[in-house]
Point group: C2
Amino acid sequence: MVVYPEIHLFGGADLAPDANGWLADAAEPLDGPRVAALAEIAAAHRIWLVPGSLPERAGDAIFNTAVVLAPDGRLVASYRKVFPWRPFESWTPGADWVTFDVPEIGRFGLSICFDSWFPESTRQLSWLGADIVLNLVKTVGDDRAQEIVLAQANAIVNQLYFLSVNAAGPVGAGGSVYVDPDGRVIAECTGAAPAVTFVPIDPDRVRDVREHGTVGLSRLAHQMWPGDAPIHLPAYGGSLTPQRRTDDAAPTPGLPGVPRSGDAPTGGG
Amino acid sequence: MVVYPEIHLFGGADLAPDANGWLADAAEPLDGPRVAALAEIAAAHRIWLVPGSLPERAGDAIFNTAVVLAPDGRLVASYRKVFPWRPFESWTPGADWVTFDVPEIGRFGLSICFDSWFPESTRQLSWLGADIVLNLVKTVGDDRAQEIVLAQANAIVNQLYFLSVNAAGPVGAGGSVYVDPDGRVIAECTGAAPAVTFVPIDPDRVRDVREHGTVGLSRLAHQMWPGDAPIHLPAYGGSLTPQRRTDDAAPTPGLPGVPRSGDAPTGGG
């Protein structure tokens, strides 16, 4: 899979006096010529292609939309950024969480830049069964240090790969960071120079960490047990429950936790 | 305020062959002699005292409960750990999120150890208006590195102080870490030796970060605007809305974001 950062094909927008207007003018529907041309590239090279996100026109709305093209050129997924970087970006916020499956690898979730600052985003993708979250970023911000912490945290609390792909200079600060399900940085791209980074993904690592715990200790995916009362979450008008899940392909929160052995734990909680 | 870590007065439990049974045997109701004695200490020294968490008996249930004693000896708050470290700990899970106010300082939220691994915990406390979260910890785990990441992340995404107070050796690994609302570590206690750390809290820092953004950039508390559609969160059967809030003292998610100036942002999102 070849993955590019947020708004990759429009990086120059930042150099325009009115970036929001420039991007709106460049927006197309997803059935327009731009996505068709990208699909041809994916098919010609027989690759999974995530060409960054694109300005998408849908009626009066302009979304910041990540698209995923399969090796046969099909548009298999599109995700509209739920958390635009307000008040600076004028994107219409998206309303849906999006995942897609890649055979032999796993389920991917889509995330764009500022989404990583809202733990709700990665949490929903995890609950939808994501094993790997692609976070497409374009930032030159002084807060990239915070984003690297958040990339690790999103990986840790959801026990998945979290891949934060930032734009190179001059439109981005680089510093892409690729985190495994234990929260360890397994690859990174320091500095803002353009670069290609190869990130190995092992689907068994996700299953292993969820089954045996983060660094072999904490089994977050097995926290709730059948019969537990729902945990009320007033900020959302909702709850965590042992039962709620979306479909058979989702992970299995709610399964009882089974100690790996009779030994005393070596951790703590 | 003097704060001790999780189960501080019962650290030896880990050395017992049956820690859960040992702690259950030691449990008392909160109106029992143990809390009364702690209240006397708080009153005698005229201090806010968080003596770690205590095993609390309530009917057949045994909770891991943080208590807060005011300088006049009143028990002003108690919080039952919502996320016990399963399957190793046999505490009954708590069901309520708890905050308390300290004049001149701000609103504190209570959190115990493994709670920090569930972003829902700190999020609810933030939504209830917490400016400072006390996370009382007792871990010797190999995952303290992950917890330090999570302490920073919980501070960043909620723009509050997150104070992770871990037990010293031999029952804990130490490594307490104190994080400001930008996610910066402002004090820490490396190593497992017993130590007292003074942590300065500036209530204006919370207000400043929420108003002007993390490192002056990202204004998370102002993300949702009146009229925004709710953001559906299927994992919780709930949503983020501009309107939902708990009471007048809560922060003001839902206020429109107002750019600080007409300048182009120096960050990205």
